[in-house]
Symmetry: C2
Subunit: 315 residues, 2 copies
């Protein structure tokens, strides 16, 4: 399947009534430090605190009504779980969320707060998938994948669409890459709605599967996984990978120290809360500033769901 301009436009109409139109902020200090004109699309202010609601909402609203009513299901301990739970409440159906038994209580409570039913499993991929399959078999709920799903990708594309509609003549857009839902949607929206803007991805060194996959031409896993950017641990999917190969110009990796430096800058200068995964694109910009000198750069702050008790470790 090819996601067209029309698909993204229709998705935007579909999700608009249910999501926030998030603001685009600027900071003269960061412009000075980066030597570029930087525009931050603030999905940390989005419902559930992250862009994930866009893809989940589009996927669920695209289901036939009868299917919607049988409920929706996913496995996730992060922002996608909250997104699915929130969407289910908004459209009036049931959400079934499979979470590892090791999930932080604050995340479990957030999901439960939306009225979702939670199923705990052992913290490994096999157990997650088996438990999810059992839930789906028993309930008839529709599984919504966190990123490897065309309707999810199309929903995530609405974020960059809003950005380029508000800020004209961007030379570049940088978004984080985990499983690739946001970056592939971002690259599609740039391609259709702002073709002069080149799209780049930011990736943690401690989860560097995407940069490896682009090099080898097939989906790879990361050589090692250790980063504070806990939203970017997943590997690419067979639907996101080809879009990234075609439309993403380059992938920059950044260390956890660079991620923390970027977070410090955002907290101190912009006075807003962005999660480690969310500042990866800014860290990538600051690390590669010669390449973007004098340019107009859009940055997607993908989320703001920080575990506050970890701030003491970072700052």
């Amino acid at each position: 399947m090819e996601i067209t301009r029309h698909h993204i436009q229709e998705a935007h109409k579909r999700v608009k009534p249910f999501i926030h139109h998030t603001p685009v902020l600027t900071s003269s200090t960061i412009n000075r430090l980066a030597g570029a004109e930087v525009f931050f699309k603030c999905e940390n202010f989005q419902k559930i605190g992250a862009f994930k609601i866009r893809g989940a909402m589009n996927a669920v609203l695209s289901l036939p009504k009868e299917k919607q009513q049988q409920g929706i299901a996913t496995h996730s301990s992060g922002n996608h779980a909250q997104a699915i739970a929130c969407v289910a409440r908004e459209v009036g159906t049931k959400a079934y969320i499979v979470m590892p038994s090791t999930s932080p209580p604050v995340k479990v409570e957030a999901v439960r707060g939306y009225g979702a039913e939670i199923f705990f499993c052992e913290p490994n991929q096999q157990a997650r998938e088996r438990t999810l399959q059992e839930v789906v078999d028993r309930t008839g709920a529709e599984f919504i994948h966190p990123y490897n799903d065309y309707a999810v990708i199309t929903g995530q594309a609405t974020c960059a669409k809003e950005l380029v509609e508000e800020i004209s003549s961007l030379d570049a857009i940088i978004a984080p890459v985990g499983g690739g839902g946001l970056i592939s949607g971002t690259s599609l929206s740039a391609h259709y709605f702002s073709p002069a803007a080149e799209v780049y991805a930011g990736e943690p060194e401690g989860a560097a599967d995407a940069v490896l996959s682009i090099k080898s031409g097939k989906i790879e896993t990361a050589p090692y996984v250790k980063t504070i950017a806990d939203g970017l641990l997943t590997t690419l999917g067979d639907k996101t990978f080809p879009i990234i190969c075609r439309f993403v110009k380059d992938i920059f990796t950044v260390s956890d120290e660079e991620i923390i430096e970027a977070m410090r800058l955002v907290f101190e200068r912009m006075k807003i809360v962005v999660e480690p995964s969310g500042v990866v694109p800014l860290a990538a910009l600051l690390k590669n500033r010669e390449q973007f000198a004098g340019k107009r750069v859009g940055i997607i702050f993908s989320g703001g769901n920080v575990e506050l008790k970890r701030l003491g470790e970072w700052f």
Copy 2:
């Protein structure tokens, strides 16, 4: 002297070109928790990260041009020092700042970053005043008091003026009280521009001089001083106290635990950075929610200058 409606209007015209018109934000979660409709005037997004620029700017712009050119001086280790340094740079004059030798390096650097000249002194009131007097004698600079100054109070009043012009029919406004510059300006703006809104102050239990002063009818010092709200340690002045007595309806005290709870809420739900002194009014609202049930309440988030390395102690 009586500060009139006209004074505040003129001050607003004077400072407007030099300050940010800060946004008023809302949070459905906090509305639900407070049982009220709450409007947050976000001075954490103001230049220098706090409302203090308003008063400093108005005071300096109100000086005769020749006086301005001799420079301006103050003693402060906090937001007022940055405000004076920033104003001096904007109007093209010199700033002389007396700071205790124990000031955190990050604050010293911020003041120096604006090009101010810094004079260190022993960390006590006597040394501050003596050093300041020496600087003023030597340079001919004008001393701008952080709060006990009519031009400063009038400048701070522009913050609540903007709030009530944007949000109609407020039933109440809550601002923090330290030396009383912001709260007295707030109460004057409410009186002139939104007379149905009653004005309340929030004060830390560990710097409870204002609540005591109101009770006794004269300026008192706090019984003990120990709070994380480091912007609110000062006592009232002979210019702020009478305005507070006349126009402020009540003063609520809050504990450091209540301040931290309010900060947590703002970081987690609003995804913005507010300093301990800045969330005192929200902590006061949440502690006294029966009194404000169903009302439209304006809250002044006075600043966002948090020392990030202290977040680990609080969360």
